[in-house]
């Protein structure tokens, strides 16, 4: 365990015009690509396997193992798709990374595509972030001009075309199979599995889908080796990663640290909860992960640690809320998000989120009883694990966990006949030192 930051992905973010190829190359950028092209693709897959890199998109699936699933005897083309749809509330790591250093991602794409023997790769970016799309497009153009992309890359005989594709603004298109449908020009809704994307993904061909951060981590592993990567983090959650702190913290932003750091340590680095306030609750990995409280400040933020605390590491999006925040209100806002983003394919999520929002809205107004809380919990029980994809599961997390930790606050709404909080006080423009 270490309590210091380990900037690797974010190391160059403060460089002059860090997003340019020149700047990136000055810092040794694209050296890893040359190393990788000198290796056998299979050896690269082994290297990533050995490093212990786990997917940074939320589920933490071992990246090298995912690459190993690609059937190399399948006659269809292979595809690499980078998931840059980043839409989970609180999650804001991929977009800063692509803003500050798009070439880290592009280099990662080339090495990863080479490893899985794909000649076509796609970066699927959420459509709202036009500035990021432009930076990516420019970076890809630069990479082509420098010969990092295109035909016979640096004389290796390896060809790769990379396309930056803008989504149209749907959270569900971050779900990997919905993303594939969207990329193929259809309406994004999750696909039935099996077949899994590794066998029949994009255009029914073998496809690897990885998160931006997962792919961006690959060049550093090639450069520094698997054991370097494994020296950071914990036994089963290796390496460094980006933690995104937002909300009631003094210095919100990206903190790149080894997996297993605690929120207490991160808050220290970030100057603590906003002045004059104390931590009330937080999400470890975006709104789809059950909330935790001040009692979890020392939980190691790795897959196992957060799991043992009853939540999930998710996207490491740490949304921090102090005591001015009404948990019922926060949960209602999140639930409205899920209702809005439910793709509509399956019954539990489509109808469930519609119902949950109405129930919560009523409770927020103080029009409810404790029996409603039981109904809410039962509704969640009927959604969690019954939906078609994990969006529905995620929608239940804030509700069940908030009732678990803050049942009294819900009850207070009924007794008070409305919300006992002053919402203005939780805003960032509230006067310092204001209390609930």
């Amino acid at each position: 365990m270490t309590d210091t930051l380990t900037p690797v992905l974010s190391d160059n973010w403060d460089a002059e015009r860090s997003w340019t190829l020149d700047s990136y190359a000055d810092g040794g950028g694209y050296d890893a690509l040359k190393t990788a092209l000198g290796m056998e693709p299979g050896a690269l897959i082994d290297l990533v396997k050995d490093s212990g890199l786990r997917g940074r998109g939320g589920a933490g699936f071992p990246t090298g193992m995912k690459w190993g699933f690609i059937p190399q005897d399948n006659p269809n083309p292979k595809y690499l798709v980078v998931n840059a749809d980043e839409s989970e509330p609180g999650t804001c790591k991929d977009i800063p990374l692509m803003m500050a250093s798009p070439h880290t991602l592009v280099e990662g794409v080339i090495i990863s595509a080479y490893a899985i023997r794909a000649n076509h790769a796609f970066i699927y970016v959420r459509g709202e972030v036009l500035h990021v799309i432009r930076r990516l497009q420019r970076a890809v153009q630069e990479a082509y001009l420098a010969g990092h992309l295109g035909k016979d890359i640096h004389g290796s005989g390896y060809d790769l075309e990379l396309v930056v594709h803008a989504g149209a603004g749907a959270y569900i298109c971050g779900e990997e199979t919905a993303l594939l449908d969207s990329l193929e020009g259809r309406r994004g809704q999750p696909r039935l599995r099996p077949p899994f994307p590794a066998v029949a993904g994009l255009y029914a061909s073998p496809t690897v889908i990885n998160n931006v951060e997962s792919i961006a981590s690959v060049p550093s592993i090639v450069r520094n080796g698997a054991s370097w990567f494994g020296s950071m983090g914990t036994e089963k959650s290796k390496g460094m990663t980006l933690y995104s702190l937002s909300g009631h913290v003094t210095r919100p932003g990206q903190y790149e640290a080894p997996l297993g750091i605690t929120l207490r340590q991160l808050l220290d680095l970030a100057g603590g909860v906003r002045e004059g306030h104390e931590l009330k609750f937080w999400t470890p990995g975006g709104s789809s992960t059950p909330i935790l409280t001040a009692e979890h400040l020392d939980v190691p933020l790795d897959y196992e640690g957060v799991g043992a605390a009853g939540s999930m590491l998710g996207t490491k999006a740490l949304q921090v809320f102090d005591e001015t925040t009404c948990v019922v209100r926060a949960v209602l806002r999140w639930t409205e998000f899920y209702k809005h983003e439910s793709c509509g394919k399956c019954t539990p999520c489509r109808e469930g989120t519609w119902w949950l929002v109405q129930t919560l809205a009523r409770l927020e107004k103080g029009q409810g009883t404790e029996a409603d809380l039981e109904t809410l919990l039962d509704q969640c029980d009927n959604i969690l694990g019954r939906s078609f994809c994990a969006l529905g599961d995620g929608a239940t997390s804030p509700i069940t966990s908030s009732i678990q930790y803050f049942r009294d606050e819900y009850v207070a709404h009924f007794e008070h006949g409305g919300c006992p909080f002053d919402p203005a006080k939780s805003t960032l423009f509230a006067p310092a030192g204001a209390h609930a």
């Binding site: 309406r187 039935l192 009927n382």
Partner: protein
């Protein structure tokens, strides 16, 4: 052990997996879905999106069950997730595997609760309008809410509503708030019909079935979506609010609109058909029917329906109502007086009725002048039918189409002319069948079958068929099937070439006529040279064979065909005509047919509704419509499709009873008066195993005609009837008719340029008998060919142009 799969084939043990469902061990063929494995032990897992003929989606989540799979130690491990929770699985997407343990709602409280949860969720936004909903009483949502749902809702909030209903076509209406978003309708349209004009749009609880603004839901099969909709979200304009299902009597029957013999269910009330649904018959139509078979049934109760016999009053010269006995007597006397008489029938008779006409002509009238072909026909065709079709029994079947590699269509447009056949071909094509079509252009139907066009101008089909024998690409062999449309009768040499091609390649051949009674008419001997069962008139042994059952002798001279009968009547060689269900406009020469009816001294007309023929007839005898009698249709496959009387209260007489009445008066009884008795005699007669007529060997004639003209003159006419058109059997079904495809004249881009008009502009097509004006469109036709629908939007090509397929016509821009 062995089990029998749905197709009735024995499955070897190696292809089975054994699993345990609710404690019961069951073996099912590999690949079987858990939901269907459960059906085998009598467990009904509730479901909405699942449909056995559609690809699974797993969308509704109603079918969740608890599943355990054997681990490495062989012990079953329950499928879990999210952490620590049992994760019930959708049984409609999960294939059964060896050692799997499934616990459904019956034995798993977790599965039961999951299902109840989904049901409750489905109902929160569902309106409570069951009392006025068409589906009420036969609704899977209602039923399963009772069996797998909670008694009371906990939802006290606001339901989602939509303005209701919206037309997704002229015939199909959508009440969005009733929709459970199971995607059955959209999957049917895309996967089965190939008409993806509806799709799910929007998201979340606002997801809904939508149409493309500029593309109406135009499909010949749209009614199937109404039937498979598990709620009352899709309704038909024709049936909406007309009945409660429990007030209807349902009778299985067979559709009368084409030669496919689709199983249907007829729902009726107080002697009136209220709606028709698809029946289930895996061998024939599976669970689908055409919109024509579904919605086309009010023709039998139009105002012009004939209800009483009529005879021409000797004094006034007008038709007047008569009693049956009087009408029989007048008909018999008139025919006796008229002398030589010919018999013309259409192609809509049941096998039993056709048999009655066949026997009536030979026994009561003593003539072989009988022909069912109220359309273009030829002696070559007759030889073809006699040699290859008549009395051959079940040949190529619907199911065979899924087992072969190549199907060649010639002179046949399945989507328009045999919709059920089209669906089966499309199904097979989606699994790899190669469809090749000898046709003038790539029709929408051919494109949907992913078919290959052998571009052929009408008249050149014979040459195209001959060329196929040497076509390495199509490579027709014994693993192929040739489907020949009746239109080839008008192309000299085409049917000969088809028979020869089948002979040289070993490919199997089937003749696919348009009408439900065509094949039965061939089998019953409604042809001048053919007796029932394929017995040649000029074969003494065949005549003796028949004579023993009929107890009389039969004339040995082949008679006149339909054109011959018409000509003879005009020439005065024939005095009497017995006409059963012929529309002069369907015949190759409508004017001649009308003239013959006018010239004949005595005309007996057996008809459903008033027509030009009944108006000119001396005796008019009303007959029963399909729903008012029992009978048998013989499909293009040669499959007998018997059906019972649906409207049991009806007193309408089938043709055979009417003919028996006249025959009695003529002193030459037919020997049967009921459908059952006619059937019994047909089976007593049995098949014919003697010599058959040889297949025709008419040569193709000289080379194919060259016509690549792109100015408007001397164009070759291609034409066939669209499925939903001006046919009188669609009279009264206005919503259905509104879904028909508009009449458009199609030409090649080159020809269009030569005409100097834009697509969509009006052109006038002129034939020997007149002209018609309609919009023009472009298709991949050869230059110098124009295609017209034979009977759409008020234009009847035979009647208005005096032309049939292959004729030379001219086209010019603008109205006439």
């Amino acid at each position: 052990m062995t089990v029998t799969s749905k197709e009735g084939q024995e499955v070897a043990k190696a292809d089975l997996v054994t699993l345990t469902i609710d404690g019961v061990e069951v073996s099912v063929p590999k690949g079987t879905l858990v939901i269907r494995a459960a059906e085998q032990i009598g467990v009904q897992i509730p479901r909405f999106c699942d449909h056995p003929l559609l690809a699974p989606v797993g969308a509704c989540r109603q079918c969740l069950v608890e599943v355990a799979l054997p681990g490495p130690d062989g012990e079953p491990r329950t499928m879990m997730g999210p952490p620590g929770r049992v994760k019930p699985q959708a049984s409609c997407t999960l294939t059964a595997s060896e050692g799997m343990v499934v616990n459904t709602q019956i034995s798993s409280p977790i599965a039961d609760k999951a299902q109840q949860g989904v049901m409750e969720a489905l109902l929160i936004n569902h309106p409570l309008d069951c009392p006025v909903c068409d589906k009420g009483g036969e609704c899977p949502l209602q039923n399963q809410a009772m069996s797998n749902g909670r008694g009371e809702t906990r939802f006290v909030e606001t339901k989602r509503t939509f303005p209701k209903p919206i037309n997704i076509s002229a015939q199909v209406l959508l009440d969005r708030e009733r929709c459970v978003l199971c995607a059955r309708c959209t999957r049917f349209s895309e996967q089965i019909a190939g008409d993806p004009f509806i799709a799910l749009i929007e998201r979340g609880a606002l997801q809904q079935v939508g149409i493309y603004e500029k593309e109406p839901f135009e499909s010949y099969f749209s009614g199937n979506t109404i039937q498979i909709c598990p709620v009352g979200a899709l309704t038909s304009a024709a049936y909406r609010f007309r009945a409660r299902p429990f007030d209807l009597v349902s009778t299985p029957s067979v559709a009368e609109h084409d030669a496919c013999g689709s199983a249907i269910r007829v729902d009726h009330r107080r002697g009136k058909v209220v709606r028709r649904l698809s029946g289930e018959d895996p061998a024939v139509n599976e669970e689908w029917i055409t919109d024509k078979d579904r919605f086309g049934f009010t023709y039998a109760r139009q105002d012009d329906r004939l209800t009483h016999p009529m005879v021409r009053d000797e004094e006034t010269g007008e038709l007047r109502t008569a009693s049956w006995p009087e009408a029989f007597v007048v008909a018999a006397r008139g025919l006796q007086a008229a002398g030589a008489t010919g018999v013309l029938t259409g192609g809509r008779l049941t096998l039993e009725d056709a048999y009655a006409y066949s026997k009536f002509a030979r026994v009561a009238l003593g003539t072989n002048d009988v022909d069912f072909r109220a359309r273009a026909h030829s002696a070559e065709e007759e030889a073809f039918l006699a040699s290859t079709v008549a009395g051959t029994g079940l040949g190529v079947t619907f199911e065979d189409l899924e087992k072969v590699g190549t199907v060649v269509l010639a002179g046949l447009e399945p989507e328009d002319e045999a919709g059920t056949l089209f669906l089966r071909l499309r199904k097979a094509a989606r699994k790899g069948l190669k469809v090749v079509s000898i046709a003038p252009f790539t029709s929408r139907g051919l494109a949907k079958m992913h078919g290959t066009l052998i571009r052929t101008a009408p008249g050149d089909e014979a040459a195209a068929l001959e060329a196929l024998a040497h076509d390495g690409e199509v490579a027709l062999d014994a693993g192929g099937i040739l489907l020949i449309g009746e239109r080839l009768a008008a192309v000299p040499g085409a049917l000969s070439a088809a028979a020869a091609l089948a002979g040289t390649t070993g490919a199997r051949l089937a003749w696919v006529p348009r009408r439900a009674g065509d094949r039965g008419a061939v089998d019953a001997g409604l042809l001048p040279s053919l007796l029932p069962g394929g017995r040649p008139v000029d074969d003494a042994a065949a005549r003796v064979d028949l004579g023993t059952v009929w107890g009389t002798t039969v004339g040995h001279e082949p008679g006149r065909d339909a054109a011959g009968i018409v000509a003879a009547a005009i020439a005065g060689e024939i005095g009497g005509l017995v006409v059963g269900g012929v529309d002069p406009d369907d015949t190759a020469d409508p004017a001649a047919t009308r003239a013959a009816i006018g010239a004949a001294s005595f005309v007996v007309s057996l008809e459903l509704r008033a027509t030009d023929v009944t108006q000119a007839a001396d005796v008019v005898l009303p007959v029963a419509a399909a729903a008012e009698k029992a009978g048998t249709f013989v499909t293009w496959e040669g499959r007998q499709r018997p059906f019972g009387k649906v409207l049991v209260e009806s007193h309408a007489l089938p043709d055979l009873r009417v003919l028996a009445g006249i025959a009695d008066e003529l002193g030459t009884p037919l020997g049967f008066k009921t459908v059952e008795a006619a059937r019994a005699e047909l089976s007593e007669l049995g098949g014919w195993d003697g010599d058959r007529v040889a297949a025709p060997t008419v040569s193709t004639g000289s080379t194919t005609r060259e016509s690549s003209t792109t100015d408007g003159d001397g164009l070759r006419l291609a034409t066939w009837k669209q499925m939903i058109d001006d046919a009188s059997m669609l009279d009264g079904d206005d919503y259905l008719r509104a879904t028909g495809r508009a009449a458009v004249a199609l030409v090649s881009a080159g020809t269009l340029a030569g005409l100097g008009v834009e697509a969509g502009a009006n052109v006038t097509v002129t034939g020997p008998g007149g002209s018609a004006t309609l919009p023009v469109g472009v298709a991949d036709l050869a230059d110098g060919v124009v295609w017209l629908p034979a009977g759409s939007d008020g234009i009847n090509v035979n009647r208005d142009l005096g032309a049939t397929a292959g004729a030379t016509v001219s086209v010019e821009g603008g109205a006439a």
